[in-house]
């Protein structure tokens, strides 16, 4: 199984908080890989909120190609973090040249573009870089987005974090998501490592989505920018989230109705039953078949957790005003926020969507049987 941990905190935290929680839960994952997603960044990025940050792994040749390409596009480097790779390699982890985290200044002329156009161009550039990297195996690109950093690597999370010295001030962030374990069902590939990210939406998943292939076919056939990849069956959860909220304009409370719709009798009793039945029919190929526990993050920094209908994967949410964590196991939560009121810990069941909003004041829970907050 994978282990997941996410935390949202008023005070910026080191990524090591998540790594330590992951380490506490190590009996639950096989230590084969780690993915970290950082958002609402502090440190030097505090003042660079609008600058798109490129995260990825590059070879020396790859960096040179990247620089040429970005310069051609008109991007100027504003700030960069250099993660110096120790000379002694970590057993089980491939030797890398550069872990790149680089904030850029937009090219001239982009200021006048509408927001959506800028966002689409950022995705296009990320896909371009990914394609270039796959061609010559010299670049792996995880994200290219303002206020977002992603680091992924093969190996034990704690060892990788120490190896890369992630406990540094520049990487402090207010929203951190981490996942431990590499993809086991498909080929070992960093593009298969959670969390996944598209245009401000990120998710990571514990479980296996047995409906993966028809869902992938459906997402690919939408013709939507960035709906590609799918080295992991969990990537579809991110894209379905993006599709539901960004493309269809529905609220987070409908996400669960898309991935695990209610059954007939409950739909009939639901105040929005008619709408939900239509949604169930028209989004039928997006219905996942778990067991899956999904933790995700919206562009407004809301963190959430949903379970699928089978509710066979662990997941708990707890914390205190100003700091809340979403964890696969209670021991992970204990490690990150020990001094909380544990009686308020919440384990979402098969109907629940649990959220902590950008104000970080409380856990909000909505059940699938509740009326929808439809934007109408």
């Amino acid at each position: 199984m994978c282990r997941l941990f996410a935390i949202t905190s008023k005070t910026p935290l080191s990524p090591m908080v998540a790594i330590e929680a992951m380490d506490v839960m190590r009996e639950g994952h096989d230590g084969s890989g780690v993915g970290i997603f950082l958002r609402d960044l502090a440190g030097p990025f505090e003042d660079l909120k609008d600058a798109p940050i490129l995260s990825g792994i590059f070879t020396e040749a790859g960096i040179k190609r990247l620089d040429r390409h970005m310069m051609d596009l008109g991007f100027m480097t504003k700030y960069k973090i250099s993660i110096k790779v120790p000379k002694v390699a970590l057993p089980g982890t491939p030797r890398r040249d550069v872990y790149l985290i680089r904030a850029y200044e937009y090219p001239e002329g982009w200021d006048a573009l509408p927001q959506q156009e800028i966002y689409d161009r950022l995705v296009r550039i990320r896909l371009q870089l990914r394609a270039m990297g796959e061609e010559q195996e010299d670049m792996i690109v995880f994200s290219f987005w303002p206020d977002v950093i992603m680091i992924k690597e093969i190996g034990d999370p704690m060892k990788v974090a120490r190896h890369l010295n992630l406990d540094r001030k520049e990487l402090h962030a207010r929203v951190i998501m981490a996942q431990g374990r590499q993809n086991t069902n498909y080929a070992i590939n960093l593009y298969a490592c959670h969390p996944f990210f598209i245009q401000g939406y990120a998710t990571m998943t514990n479980g296996e989505n047995t409906a993966f292939v028809p869902i992938r076919e459906y997402l690919l056939s939408r013709g939507m920018l960035g709906y590609t990849g799918y080295q992991s069956d969990s990537e579809v959860f991110t894209h379905i989230l993006h599709y539901t909220v960004q493309h269809l304009g529905l609220g987070l409370d409908t996400y669960k109705h898309v991935i695990t719709p209610l059954q007939d009798d409950m739909l009939e009793a639901h105040p929005n039953g008619r709408f939900l039945k239509q949604l169930k029919h028209s989004c039928r190929p997006l219905t996942t078949d778990g067991p899956n526990c999904v933790i995700g993050c919206l562009p407004d920094h809301t963190l959430f957790m949903v379970q699928d209908r089978k509710k066979l994967r662990p997941g708990v949410v707890g914390g205190k005003p100003g700091c809340w964590a979403f964890s696969s196991e209670i021991c992970g939560l204990d490690a990150a926020i020990p001094n909380r009121d544990k009686s308020k810990d919440f384990q979402p069941m098969h109907l629940d969507t649990t959220m902590v909003g950008p104000d970080r004041q409380e856990i909000a829970t909505c059940s699938q049987t509740d009326p929808l907050r439809l934007p109408r």
Binding site: P214, E217, S221, H247, P285, D308, R309, K310
Partner: protein, 544 residues
Amino acid sequence: MFPDRPITPSTLSVKDLPWQIAWSKDKCTLCGRCTAVCPVHAIELGVFRKRVLNTSLDIAAPPSNAHHVYHGIRQKTDPAYACIGCAMCNLVCPNDAIMPMRADESDKLRYHINRGGSPRSRGGRRNVPGGLLDQIKFIRISMLTDPALDAGRHEFELRTLLGRVLPPEENIRFYKENGWMPPVREIYPLLIGGMSFGALSPNMWEGLQMGVAYLNEELGMPVRICTGEGGCPPRLLRSRFLKYTILQIASGYFGWDEIIHALPEMQEDPCAIEIKYGQGAKPGDGGLLMWHKVNNLIAAIRGVPAGVSLPSPPTHQTQYSIEESVAKMIQSMSMAWGFRVPVYPKISGTSTAMAVLNNLTRNPYAAGLAIDGEDGGTGAAYNVSMNHMGHPIATNIRDAYQTLVKVGKQNEIPLFAGGGVGKNGNLAANAAALIMLGASGVQVGKYIMQAAAGCLGSETDRCNICNIGLCPKGITSQDPRLYRRLDVDKVAERVVDAFLAFDTELKKIVAPLGRSTTLPIGMADALGISDYHASERLNIKYVV
């Protein structure tokens, strides 16, 4: 036959026939039931003369002989009366004294059943046993990384949709704007395909309808049944059970006068309207109800004179192009029920199916596409059509699904597959394979006849006389002396048995794949086959 008697080209011996009657003189009670029950009069009372020689050990005593007569069964060798292997004689024999046996070599009868220049016609399926569907295995078993489910205890939602499903964006927009939403039915993925009132006996039809009503109303399984082309009994048209029925319109428009006149009195909308353009068993050929079966009742429901053969034309004769044939007809039928009823075409499997499908994708009223493969059954067709015409269903449905995936409409136009599903008894496995290849549901006819009424027909050419109204089980006969053999309630009970067993088996297939929340439509990653070329063609895994 005496040696000097002339023989004709069609003079056959018992040996030349496909079925030979083995009869035991020792066991026979001469009750005559076998000769009475034989639907084709292949056997008759035989009076046999036998000479017995008495030779004494005493050389002086002259040998004598005596002639005895005994009575028994004689098999006719006239091609018109050749045994069909139904074994009803065996069924009725109190002593098991008689049974048809299959000839040990290819028969000679086949060269002579075209008397008067009329080629053989029959009912049943393509006379080729076996099939590709049985070779498909389900190989993606959930092991450790995700737990396999308990088929007996877990909750499953094994429903499918029949009707045009709007893409999510349009659906939400139409919903907000109170626009027209195409009607969509949530139904059970196994449908009873079109077998007409006329092709089937009244008892069989009633039994099927009762079974379907029970499945819906007592067991909560939304099973649907298609009428086939032959209209619908007036009382059913005006009953609440109409909602479980798919009305079929085909090129003969039989029964549609009655249906149209019943429209104002209908209490419920039918489940759907199926426009039949083709049938897998006899593609490119129209329907055929031979005169033997057109009695007064059938004639009344169909609105035709009694005692005449009723061939439907191969095409809908009022139309000349795909636009007319499909678009206008779908629109007309939709209009008849105020756009509240899904209307979809059914075609026979063909290499041109993709052209039809592409046309449907551009027609917002098309509610689906049913494709009937070469192994489908029929009540009557020329042998040559059944054995040699048609397209296998597996590749046709796979191509259709992949075509829809290419244009992103795989959820918008549900595909229904038929033709040889459960041909060898493996109904759930065949159905699940077709669903995972991309079908939204499957249609069965012949299997239901076999399971619910004990049809004897086989793909090794046993019985298969559905066309002449002499069905020994009373399934496809309009003769009360024959169809009273069929107990309506028992047929209904067997329909329910068959569906419940199918449901359990389907769960036994999807549960180990880790699927329970939706029907695994297009889940081709779960399929494997040991035939390399088939795997390449179907785009599924090659496993050995």
